[in-house]
């Protein structure tokens, strides 16, 4: 049997609304995430991964994912993601900020959620990541 790397044992409790009953043998709770690349409505911009620091030193502003002559513009790409584990979405979505390059003021910058595409080599950004908790019906009958 292939050996695997030891990690600290962890149990993560997920509490959900009391009226969303999950039985041991039928229903399961899932988080549905819907991402649509819409940040900026199509204007050219840079996308930074990290937090905008609002101070003079731009090295504190995260990583520019669209350096040099490359730019981001919203393309409408969609990503739908389902997970049974709360927080798992952080493995495919990250947080960052949008900089429209039309001025240096804070009014041209806003927070976004970033998705790097199926291959992890693209830049998509949204201002409206949607999540929904749903009970998924199992295929057991009681």
């Amino acid at each position: 049997m292939e050996r695997i790397m030891w990690v600290k044992p962890e149990m993560r409790e997920v509490t959900f609304a009391a009226n969303a009953y999950v039985a041991a043998c039928d229903n399961l709770l899932s988080w549905f995430w819907e991402f649509i690349c819409n940040a900026g409505g199509g204007n050219k911009a840079d996308i930074y991964e990290g937090t905008y620091s609002d101070d003079w030193d731009s090295s504190n502003d995260g990583t520019n994912l669209t350096p040099g002559n490359s730019y981001f513009h919203a393309c409408g790409a969609e990503k739908h993601y389902v997970t049974y584990e709360e927080g798992k979405e952080n493995e495919i979505f990250s947080t960052g900020w949008y900089d429209e390059n039309e001025g240096s003021g804070r009014e041209y910058k806003f927070d976004v959620t970033i998705w790097k595409g199926e291959d992890g080599n693209n830049v998509h950004a949204t201002t409206s990541l949607v999540s929904e908790l749903r009970v998924v019906q199992g295929n057991h009958s009681n």
Binding site: P9, E10, V22, A23
Partner: protein
């Protein structure tokens, strides 16, 4: 007549500073005192998983789902190390059993496996996810 129980062998870690040859030289009274001094009785304790949780594997994730009298609005996700321990704990095990089995299955370059398992069992007994077998 004594009540019959299934034969079982459990592991403890090495006890105290003496090596096995030195331990073998001790009298029964000395051995009992030595083992008591170095925590043998604690290492002999058996634990098992709380039987009111059902372990299911869903899309590669291990999830504990409460049953019985437990509140139904909580699910617990386990990482791979925890799922491994949980499966072992379907039968009574000492901490030494868990450490031995985990070392057969996992690479432990950080050397923290034993510490993690001891902390895990101690904490999860307090939270009620693991029972001490009396």
């Amino acid at each position: 007549m004594k009540k019959y129980v299934s034969p079982s062998i459990h592991l403890t870690g090495h006890i105290g500073p003496l090596d096995n040859a030195q331990i073998a030289q001790l009298s029964d009274a000395q051995l009992e005192a030595y083992l008591r001094e170095h925590g043998y009785w604690e290492q002999k304790r058996l634990y098992r998983a709380n039987g009111n949780y059902v372990l299911r594997e869903i899309a590669g994730e291990h999830v504990l789902i409460p049953s019985g009298d437990l509140p139904g609005n909580v699910m617990i996700t386990l990482n791979p190390s925890c799922a491994f321990l949980w499966k072992l704990l379907q039968e009574p095990k000492t901490v030494g059993d868990l450490i031995f089995a985990a070392r057969q299955r996992f690479d432990d370059p950080s050397g923290e496996l034993e510490k993690h398992i001891r902390e895990f069992v101690e904490y999860r007994v307090k939270t009620g996810h693991i029972w001490e077998v009396k």
